[in-house]
């Protein structure tokens, strides 16, 4: 009977194929265009005459003698110190991912194994916190942080991002741990392990797929953040996203919009790699909360 479901007029398949290809172009073309354009000069990428200039690099050839130029990348990474922002992003995202995974794994495990009713209150509260726009909370941090003299440091941004990450991490690890049979750690308890021993020796070895998936999303949250990092970090600790935003303000005066283009391509590359290597985990993470629905 299975082929009954797959029998369909070729018109339908053809139509679906066309639709999928259209979507592929819509999803991928902007990236291809920007990556290609980042190796051109401004008068090509933002050409007033013809967009063929952006493809062929007419003005780039005239100005630099070659069809490709790394001037944008040089200007961004070296001249305007984008490398410092990249370093800052690397430090912050690594710490945020590690700490929020540690907190979230412990919490998610407790939520999944507890039988008390207050765990529901915590879960619902976490969902409510998840709905708060980050920027509204940031407006509550600034004044206390100024007073405590902890504004501007990377450590402050890290702990704030960890906290903002928690609701999501807790829910994800909670639904993941629910999929691991209770018998596994309960038999360890019967054998005389403490709860923490059971967690460390029985659960930790089997929890890695869930941890990787959750870790990817924690990483992305810290990596993509703008509201916290732009307002809480001092200028020399700035991460990549606010750095790119700061280029936008200077574009008109200095004509260095190509720095921003190069920086945008640079910040996109890690996301591309992430999707390439971890596609399976990302998809499973997106659907995890949903399918249990």
């Amino acid at each position: 009977m299975a082929d009954v479901l797959n029998r369909r007029p070729p018109v339908v398949t053809l139509f679906a194929m066309g639709f999928v290809i259209c979507w592929l172009i819509i999803a991928a073309f902007p990236f291809a265009w920007t990556v290609w354009g980042s190796s051109k000069v401004q008068s090509d990428f933002f050409s007033r005459e013809s967009w063929w200039n952006a493809i062929l690099g007419t003005n780039t050839l005239r100005v630099t003698g070659e069809a490709f130029t790394g001037a944008g990348y040089y200007g961004a990474w070296i001249a305007t110190g984008f490398w410092r922002a990249a370093l800052s992003t690397a430090i912050i995202t690594t710490c945020v991912t590690m700490i929020s995974l540690t907190f979230g794994t412990l919490g998610g495990y407790a939520l999944a194994r507890s039988t008390h009713r207050y765990r529901f209150a915590i879960l619902v509260m976490a969902l409510f916190f998840r709905a708060m726009p980050d920027i509204t909370l940031v407006s509550g941090y600034l004044l206390p942080f100024f007073e405590l003299n902890i504004w501007g440091y990377r450590a402050t941004a890290i702990i704030v991002l960890v906290a903002l990450n928690q609701p999501f991490t807790l829910w994800m690890m909670y639904s993941f741990f629910q999929g691991i049979p209770r018998d596994l750690d309960e038999s360890a308890l019967v054998d005389g392990c403490t709860r923490f021993q059971a967690f460390r020796m029985i659960i930790m070895p089997v929890m890695w797929p869930g941890v990787i998936t959750t870790g990817l999303f924690s990483f992305l949250l810290a990596y993509n953040d703008f509201s916290v990092t732009s307002l809480i970090l001092s200028e020399q600790n700035q991460t990549m996203v606010p750095k790119i935003a700061s280029y936008l303000g200077q574009i008109q005066s200095e004509g260095n919009i190509m720095f921003a283009v190069a920086a945008v391509v640079s910040i996109t590359i890690p996301i591309f790699m992430l999707v390439m290597f971890f596609q399976r985990y990302l998809v499973s993470g997106l659907t995890a909360g949903a399918v249990k629905g």
């Binding site: 265009w33 933002f46 969902l127 709860r195 945008v264 596609q279 998809v283 949903a290």
Partner: protein
């Protein structure tokens, strides 16, 4: 699990959430009741023998700094910030409703008030982008479900990128293409044969491009969730429907959609939360002249050249949280019910 063990495991997470989510909510509420100290003004009179006396006013910077350092929260203002022109603007609203000529005029005047302007865009954005992105995502999922296997991998890959991309960066990439000097912007000008058509000057066009970005970046999430859901649609029911002579559309309407219902609610919840906080695209599109959102208002109160307007930012934040609460409480109650019924 005993209480003590539970809280030992939950401890770090609970403390982090309490300190950096629950307390700040209280903190913005307190902040919103205060307003920055005015500058201390000194009036001095200088008298000259024949010219009479002249009064000059000057700002006493030292005294201003001192009073600000002593009371960083500012002076108590009650609900003053909430009702001023930049927020709920009750007095202005009353005046507009009393004096305006007709409904259109009243709406235009109300739209000039910053908070209502931001609210108009935020609500429109949420109301337009959420359903359209979900429909587009569903259509992609249906289409991908019937194309040959080898296409699926690349489609998944290229769909994940617009969704996971940094919002500020994704919006910039689209903005540069939609710019008058970018490829799509130039194409639009060419299409309408109007060399002055530009996203910078035209309000409706700014809204349209922002929402285009919203749909572009949100559709993949619906696609991936619905695609996973399609794999779980009961085959027996589908086959029975075919035998009963149900058409392709009937099958989608009466079999596929009902079985996706829980997923639709899940996606709806996530998308509502994410779209209501729309913020970064407005910065990327440099669109604040034509479109602002509630989150953007908070940001612009804090990101000032001179004194940061904490009171104003906090009042906008409290109002935003109020709207979110109204939006999300029905969902929270539902989740709470499901949790205690053990279906989740």
């Amino acid at each position: 699990m005993p209480h003590s063990t539970f809280f030992r495991f939950m401890g770090p997470s609970l403390i982090a959430m309490f300190l950096f989510i629950a307390l700040p909510i209280v903190s913005i509420f307190v902040q919103s009741l205060h307003v920055e100290h005015p500058q201390v003004v000194v009036v001095s009179e200088t008298c000259q023998p024949f010219g009479g006396c002249t009064q000059t006013t000057s700002v006493d910077a030292g005294a201003t700094a001192k009073i600000r350092a002593e009371q960083p929260l500012g002076q108590f203002n009650g609900l003053g910030t909430y009702v001023d022109r930049n927020h709920l603007a009750f007095r202005e609203l009353k005046a507009i409703l009393a004096n305006s000529n007709g409904v259109g005029d009243a709406i235009a005047l109300i739209y000039n008030l910053p908070l209502y302007r931001a609210l108009a865009f935020t609500v429109t954005y949420t109301a337009v982008v959420t359903p359209l992105a979900m429909i587009l995502g569903f259509l992609i999922a249906l289409a991908v479900n019937i194309v040959p296997r080898m296409v699926k991998g690349p489609v998944m890959f290229f769909s994940l990128v617009p969704m996971l991309i940094t919002p500020l960066v994704g919006a910039l990439i689209l903005y540069w293409m939609l710019n008058t000097e970018g490829i799509l912007g130039a194409a639009i000008q060419h299409l309408y044969n109007d060399p002055n058509l530009s996203t910078r000057t035209s309000g409706p066009l700014t809204w349209a491009t922002l929402m285009t970005y919203g749909i572009w970046t949100n559709a993949p999430f619906s696609f991936i969730v619905f695609y996973a859901g399609l794999q779980a649609v009961p085959r027996d029911t589908l086959e029975a429907a075919i035998i009963d002579g149900a058409s392709r559309l009937d099958r989608i309407r009466y079999v596929v959609l009902p079985s996706l219902r829980p997923l639709v609610l899940f996606v709806l919840l996530v998308q509502l939360m994410d779209n209501f906080r729309v913020f970064e695209p407005i910065i990327s599109f440099n669109a604040s002249a034509n479109a602002t959102s509630l989150s953007f208002l908070v940001y612009s109160s804090l990101n000032t050249q001179t004194t940061q307007l904490f009171g104003s930012a906090a009042a906008t934040s409290v109002i935003t949280i109020g709207f979110i609460t109204v939006l999300i409480v029905p969902v929270l109650l539902r989740v709470a019910r499901e949790l205690s019924a053990g279906t989740r």
